[in-house]
Amino acid sequence: MSEPALAVRDVVAGYVPEVDILRGVGLEVREREIVTVLGPNGAGKSTLMKTIAGLVPVRSGSIRMFGEDLVDVPAHRMVSRGLAYVPQTGNVFARLSVQENLEIGAAARGARDGFEEDLDRMYQLFPRLAERRRQAAGTLSGGERQMVAVARALMSRPRVLMLDEPSAGLSPLLVGIVFAKVREVRELGLTILVVEQNARAALAISDRGYVLAEGRDRIEGDAQALLENPEVGELYLGARRALA
């Protein structure tokens, strides 16, 4: 079997010494899979992404992308290694134009070949952005900003894309559109790891999922199986229990 696109094993990590947010997380994403990480607030979902992206120091455990060790790679070198990360908030350069945001994504790759083609592809994928290419990204709507953020990440031609709550703050209609786009993006040949609060929408487009709680991975399974798992409802949506 080939190396998994992303393999996280027994990772312990935290922002400040002595306080561990991740207390032994493991997960695996195979090439061209979409995997969703679910979990209640404070479970460490965002921290997991930041840790993989090199923003949070890893105390123990390993993170490998296609077999290559990512621990100790500085955050700004991750993009050239083929890992793109879209944070949940503040994920566009508000004072730069849409096009400049995309140029920054491309610049991280190092080479400039194929830039125009990539740009055209992004504007095909997100036609709204083509209309607004000269506009400052900060003046766009929440959904459009999310598109800029994803397009910026894709411009670096990543092999693995990490999305932190792409549906946060969007209307239900836009949530559907964003997740449909995520599936389209996978068709470009990418492997995608998503962190989501919106469990149903995310699992609907995912192959597999993990449930994180208190800094550990608790449940792992196929997306469909997770959707039907009563324990997932319990861990993920405390309120659901009362309804059920």
């Binding site: 992206a53 923003l55 955050a75 700004h76 070198r77 991750m78 993009v79 050239s80 990360y85 944070p87 503040g90 994920n91 566009v92 350069f93 508000a94 004072r95 730069l96 400049e100 140029e103 920054i104 994504g105 610049a107 991280a108 790759r109 910026r152 670096s156």
Partner: protein, 296 residues
């Protein structure tokens, strides 16, 4: 009155060039660097030093200096940028880890005092001039007298600002600098080497400060106190224009320069600095973000 307007443009050019560096470092490093004024002072004295080496008897046209002086300007710019990098490495970078902004501001105050005393130690406290030649003013417009040196100051400032604008909007490094000033942590995950961008910020900010100091020395005089005297008008300009905004700093510099000079016939030269502050307070009360705040 129109003569005071012209004087205001010249004073404003110096303040604007200095304020650009101040606003750049504020925006990217998130602290008010009070030692920035000393970059002007050091720039002026470095140029004085090199002007001695490259002294040429021949002056360019009606200017009071020759080609050798321009070489001295370039050399002073490089040395001042180097000074800023050393200061950052030894002082500001270790303190940045602490995350307490006040520490940085106080440290910059200390650095300012120390650097000012180094200047006195090295060059003495007597004011200096680049040239003993008299800058002859002639009437360039009805009612406006300017010397060739003063025209040179205005032209060089305009050229530098245009160059900076092109750099920030047309080059990859300029775009990265704007990205880092927008959001340093996003810049990092977007693949930008933030440390390298910080180094370039110092180089450009201190380089422009050096030029500002030299131009001040050319039109007024060189002294160990010049940077300290200019730091407050520069802050006023940066805040007035909207701190973080480069175009705001330019505009703020011109407004402060004009307000200071044009107040001279009304209240006398001694109260010039007060005018800058009154204006700053007034603008802050009306537009707390400055005129061009929240835009680049």
């Amino acid at each position: 009155m129109i003569q005071y307007f012209a004087d205001g443009i010249i004073a404003g050019a110096t303040i604007a060039l200095g304020a650009i560096g101040l606003t750049l470092t504020y925006n990217i490093l998130r602290f008010a660097n009070f030692a920035h004024g000393e970059f002007l002072t050091f720039g002026a004295y470095f140029a004085l030093l090199f002007a001695g080496f490259f002294a040429s008897a021949q002056t360019i046209g009606p200017l009071t200096f020759g080609w050798g002086f321009l070489v001295a300007v370039a050399a002073a710019l490089v040395l001042t940028a180097l000074l800023a990098l050393v200061l950052d490495r030894l002082l500001f970078r270790p303190l940045r880890r602490s995350d307490v902004i006040v520490t940085l501001v106080i440290a910059s105050f200390g650095a300012s005092l120390m650097l000012r005393n180094v200047v006195v130690f090295l060059w003495g406290s007597r004011p200096e001039y680049y040239s003993r030649n008299i800058a002859v003013s002639s009437e360039i417009l009805p009612g406006v007298r300017m010397s060739a040196d003063e025209l040179f100051v205005v032209a060089l400032t305009a050229a530098l600002m245009l160059a900076l604008h092109l750099f920030l909007t047309r080059t990859s490094l300029g775009r990265s600098m704007r990205a880092v000033s927008d959001d340093p942590s996003l810049a990092r995950v977007a693949g930008i080497d933030v440390q390298a961008v910080i180094r370039w910020t110092w180089i450009i900010g201190a380089g422009l400060a050096a030029v500002a100091g030299i131009l001040f020395g050319l039109t007024v005089q060189i002294s160990s106190e010049m940077g300290f005297n200019l730091i407050l008008p520069m802050f006023a300009a940066a805040i007035l224009g909207g701190i973080g905004s480069i175009y705001g700093a330019v505009l703020g510099g011109l407004i402060i320069g004009l307000a200071q000079e044009m107040s001279v016939p009304l209240i006398g030269a001694a109260y010039k600095p007060a005018v800058a502050f009154l204006l700053m307070f007034a603008i802050l009360l009306v537009y707390p973000k400055g005129i061009l705040g929240d835009r680049t």
